[in-house]
């Protein structure tokens, strides 16, 4: 007994119910809110101080948390980079899943990827990883371009690097990109349950993939192109290369559970650990994507689940792979129609100066899921 006994029972019950419901509501709304800034219109040449920037972009920035807004104020020019990175991530996601049942659909407005991000499935894991990678990649590149005032090239790489080469040029500042990415992207994850652990892990997997895919490039100097002196620098991978790696991680994602370390309460960080659902499976490494829910059925439209279905999708009738009609249409069959296409062909250059072409007409066969 205690203070609770002094209150009427209905007050205690209501208060407990509110306390129980509140974290879940907050959690569901905060993950990935910052993706809504993907449509911010900005200009590279915009040179404004922090106050006027905040005033001009006030409505869109409401989607960011307070910490994220502070980070943007402290790093002038980085908002454009974050927004551009997010746009690149969306394009890369659509490319990597163009032949899958779930083809990374997006919608205008603050809920960029739809309801799928509220589930703990593999597709959500890829979304978090590719968006985190996109921001990290874009910020690191913007540092080298000089678009962000608070960072430059990675000048820590200086001096001799080996017996016959030395550091030079402009190494992409992946360390700043990772640091900012972690502070900015992860600050939206407020919670302690499995969903937030999953999101934090996948965000870090995206950043780690950008870091691990960096490559060293060199240039030779010397008389008549001889390689007496070589200058090397570290270069970011293309986002396509990062997307390829993450898509492979997506296929090999690990289904995880809370890892219970039992009596070890001294280290709280150790207590929150992700362990594979099947003990026979390999524990997820920092590079692996993790999930805890099975994917929904992407074959049919479902407003509740937020799936668009595969009806009307273009497919390849002669392919046994994922883009084939049998798999993409989920066995529902496909319709075939022919389309007359007129294209320019047999172009010739005439001096001087115009190009003349003929018009060729041929029939193209298209297959669509029923």
């Amino acid at each position: 007994m205690g203070l609770w006994a002094l209150l009427p029972s209905w007050v205690s019950a209501t208060l407990l119910l509110a306390l129980t419901a509140l974290p879940a509501a907050l959690g569901a709304n905060s993950s990935g809110r910052w993706w809504g800034i993907v449509n911010i219109a900005s200009s590279t040449n915009l040179l404004t101080d922090s106050k006027s920037l905040q005033l001009v972009l006030e409505p869109s920035l409401q989607l960011l948390s307070r910490k994220q807004r502070r980070l943007i104020r402290q790093n002038p020019g980085i908002l454009h980079s974050v927004s551009g990175g997010l746009q690149s991530a969306v394009r890369e996601c659509k490319w990597q899943f163009r032949n899958r049942r779930w083809n990374c659909p997006t919608a205008p407005g603050p809920h960029l990827f739809g309801k799928i991000v509220n589930r703990g499935c593999r597709e959500t894991a890829f979304i978090f990883a590719i968006t985190s990678a996109g921001v990290t990649h874009s910020v690191a590149r913007s540092c080298s371009e000089g678009s962000i005032e608070s960072c430059t090239c990675d000048y820590r790489r200086r001096g001799p690097g080996g017996p016959d080469w030395h550091w030079g040029g402009c190494s992409d500042n992946i360390d700043f990109g990772r640091l900012f990415g972690r502070e900015f992207v992860d600050s939206g994850e407020k919670g302690r349950d499995l969903r937030f652990l999953m999101n934090l892990h996948n965000n870090e997997a995206g950043r780690t993939t950008v870091f691990s895919e960096m490559r060293q490039e060199c240039k030779c100097h010397g008389m008549s192109g001889s390689c007496t002196v070589r200058t090397c620098w570290m270069r970011l991978p293309t986002l396509r290369a990062v997307g390829d790696v993450l898509r492979d991680r997506f296929d090999g994602a690990s289904r995880v559970l809370y890892g219970n370390r039992g009596n070890n309460r001294a280290s709280r960080a150790e207590l929150l650990r992700l362990e594979p659902e099947d003990p026979a499976h390999k524990p997820p490494s920092p590079h692996d994507l993790v999930y805890f829910e099975k994917s929904p059925n992407f074959c049919t439209y479902s407003g509740r689940l937020g799936t668009a279905g595969t009806a009307g999708r273009a497919c390849n009738s002669s392919s046994p792979a994922l883009d084939g009609c049998e798999l993409l249409c989920c066995g529902r069959g496909h319709r075939t129609r022919t389309q007359r296409v007129t294209e320019r062909c047999n172009c010739t250059f005439h001096w001087c100066c115009h190009v003349s072409c003929r018009n060729c007409t041929h029939t193209r066969v298209l297959h669509e899921c029923l």
Binding site: D248, D278, L322, L327, T363
Partner: protein, 359 residues
């Protein structure tokens, strides 16, 4: 009334079930096959085994006409079981990386449909039977046939040197009688099955080659002896797999001159306006295959299948993804020859990753 060849080969496809069970029961986990020596005519054990093949014939799923042929020829029952086993192993090898991996589960449902996989089953079973029968002749397990006696190859000299050509001629002639008359049912499915059966037999024929051996002083080629020999059945399986990959879809068309149904390849949009008859080397099918991804009455699905991450996980797992397991594998390393004379090795352990399709 003799049954259609379809029914005969369908039984042969199902024949693999008891054969595998018997093989597993008899040899345990070794998987090795011991060829039973054929008892000679004067052997004392002959009376005890006189009726053995009769009982074996009754155990097989054969038609009445085929059982008569089986009882008439001792050794045919054993050859039929060998053929079923050979066909099954080859089919499972050729499809080991595919979603349909020629599993016995779902075989019955598959044989009732006109898929590409059904066409391959008919072809590989006919090829295995042709191959096993030709080998049985040369091995002396059949009473009514011997070595290949082609007149052009001087078989008598080959016999003197101890070589024996595979008797493919007797094999194909016997099979045309065993599998039933060429003019079978007028059903489209029966005609397709007969066509695929002939594709299998033709694949074995194309693998027949002449092998020669030189004799003479110090290995000179003063005298050369040649005989016909079948290529290994693995090569026949590869040929049929290529035929499967390029199989053509057919429908029925009435031959107005002869007044009977014939197989017909419909015209494709953009191609020639008229349809074509399938070539004698093409496998034919009538229905598009299912995906074989989920458990169904045709296949057990691909959940839990082992795949190769870089090459086959993507298509084998149907987009469901793969799981990774890590296990320690022991192997011999740092082998050295100790005088005299044995090899001594150390035992090393290495971590190996295994990828399986998600459920």
């Amino acid at each position: 009334m003799r049954p259609a060849p379809a029914l005969a080969l369908a039984a042969l496809c199902l024949l693999a079930l008891p054969a595998v069970v018997a093989a597993a029961a008899y040899f345990g986990l070794t998987g090795r096959e011991v060829l039973t020596p054929f008892p000679g005519p004067g052997t004392a054990a002959a009376p005890a085994q006189a009726g053995a093949h009769l009982k074996q014939c009754d155990l097989l799923k054969l038609s009445r006409w085929q059982k008569q042929l089986c009882r008439r020829e001792p050794g045919l029952a054993e050859t039929l079981r060998d053929a079923a086993h050979l066909g099954l192993l080859e089919c499972q090898f050729q499809f080991r990386q595919e979603r349909w991996n020629c599993s016995l589960e779902g075989r019955t449902g598959l044989l009732q449909r006109g898929f590409k996989e059904t066409a391959f089953l008919y072809a590989v079973s006919a090829a295995a039977l042709t191959h096993a029968l030709a080998r049985a002749c040369s091995a002396g397990r059949m009473e009514r046939c011997t070595c290949d006696d082609s007149p052009g190859l001087e078989s008598r000299q080959a016999w003197q040197w101890g070589v024996c050509g595979d008797n493919l001629k007797y094999s194909t002639k016997f099979l045309s009688n065993f599998l039933g008359p060429k003019r079978g049912s007028k059903d489209l499915r029966a005609r397709a099955d007969a066509h695929n059966t002939h594709v299998g037999i033709k694949a074995v024929k194309s693998g027949l080659r002449t092998t020669c051996k030189c004799h003479g002083v110090s290995g000179s080629c003063a005298v050369r002896t040649c005989w016909k020999q079948l290529s290994p059945f693995r090569e026949t399986g590869q040929v049929l797999k290529l035929r499967y990959d390029t199989a053509v879809k057919v429908s029925s068309a009435t031959n107005e001159a002869l007044g009977r149904l014939e197989l017909w390849v419909p015209a494709k949009p953009g191609g020639p306006a008229k349809g074509l008859a399938p070539r004698p080397v093409d496998l034919v099918y009538m229905e598009d295959s299912p995906s074989f991804c989920r458990p169904s009455k045709y296949s057990p699905g691909t959940a839990g299948r082992v795949c190769s991450r870089d090459t086959s996980c993507s298509s084998l797992c149907c987009g469901r993804g793969y799981d990774t397991q890590s296990r320690m594998v022991a192997f011999s390393c740092h082998c050295q020859v100790q005088w005299c004379c044995y090899v001594e090795c150390q035992q090393c352990a290495q971590q190996e990753l295994v990828y399986t399709c998600k459920r």
